[in-house]
Symmetry: C2
Subunit: 215 residues, 2 copies
């Protein structure tokens, strides 16, 4: 994952870990834990308790002496920090195989994201409906983004179409892009990009398999 964040004071790895803490806390709550100590939370993620406390200290004071963190409260705080204490409308740009697959992806809704509008430029795709959403021509993105206050976009177009699409995203006032296109985007600094690197997940598996073979 490569990101460029507007605020250099909070390292991107700290923000990444907020997502990981959030998932662990959601899991802990599901199995009936109301509180957790920084050292136990850290152990679950392979970081020291000092690192856990340092990470949260960027944003405030969330622990209780002798108790640790209250899971439900900390979940709320992290969602507030991340900005996912509300639902974000998201524009999907590119409705080929990947785009259609992402439209059906249920993990977004659970964490506060809703794909509200879908766009393409292919006349064979524009006008089609997928998962109950009608694909519009990309030229309508600026008007739709303004009407629905859409700030986030998922870019799922071929590499060759990426920078043309980006021009429209910029014009539409999109400020965050989740980029699946295997290409570096030419963007103004004010726009944040996260590139999806699926090979990283495979590396983690390779490690696990190698360890097993060597046992």
């Amino acid at each position: 994952m490569n990101s460029n964040f507007p605020d250099p004071n909070v390292p991107k790895a700290v923000v990444s870990r907020l997502s990981l803490y959030l998932r662990e806390l959601q899991q802990l709550l599901r199995v009936g834990n109301d509180t957790i100590s920084s050292s136990k939370l850290g152990r679950r993620l392979g970081v020291t308790d000092t690192q856990v406390r340092k990470d949260f200290a960027y944003f405030g004071q969330f622990g209780y002496p002798g108790i640790g963190y209250r899971c439900e409260e900390l979940i709320e705080q992290i969602r507030k920090i991340l900005g996912t204490d509300r639902t974000w409308p998201v524009a999907l740009v590119g409705c080929g195989n990947l785009g259609q697959a992402l439209l059906g992806y249920r993990g977004f809704g659970k964490q506060g994201f809703k794909v509200d509008a879908a766009f393409d430029i292919d006349p064979q795709i524009v006008g089609e409906s997928y998962e109950g959403l009608k694909v519009q021509h990309l030229q309508h993105l600026p008007a739709v983004a303004e009407a629905h206050d859409i700030k986030l976009a998922i870019l799922a177009v071929p590499a060759s179409a990426a920078n043309q699409a980006v021009d429209v995203l910029v014009q539409a006032g999109i400020t965050g892009i989740l980029n699946f296109a295997p290409v570096t985007l030419n963007l103004p600094k004010a726009i944040s990009v996260v590139g999806v690197d699926l090979a990283m997940e495979l590396e983690q598996l390779a490690f696990a398999v190698v360890k097993q073979v060597n046992k």
Copy 2:
């Protein structure tokens, strides 16, 4: 990302960071840096230099006094640890929209993974070719996996088909699964699973956008 690693001694977060270190080192090398200190490498990822040294200490001694790490050498060492110093043949199970999109994903090849065989059970898809690969019926997976020594699989089937597919994966001797199906898999402990959580990437963007609005 949820993983269950066979070795409890190396925390999964440490292995995750190996992938992040690897990407940073590859980037550093591309822009002409031959060496880097643990504190500079840590700063790029928002972890302390102690954490960097502690992470690598699980696997050996890689730094040089007064020099730091030699990028090219450390890249080789990390790939060796992760097991990606060779190319892994991967089986793709599920060739619908997501599967086809993944077949076209170029990030895998760059990091040592090659989708060598593709499977489905849908008679409309079996026999079709995508990205030069002919889709075979899932029942052939055990034979193909044995012939090609395939240990890793990408599972890109609908939730309803996931556990049926898993039975075949187990039978085929697959030991690592990258799971895109939005469901918890019932697996023997010896099989490692990494679930892809794309919402995490969106959270990182939401944070960046919220920060910008609050500036």
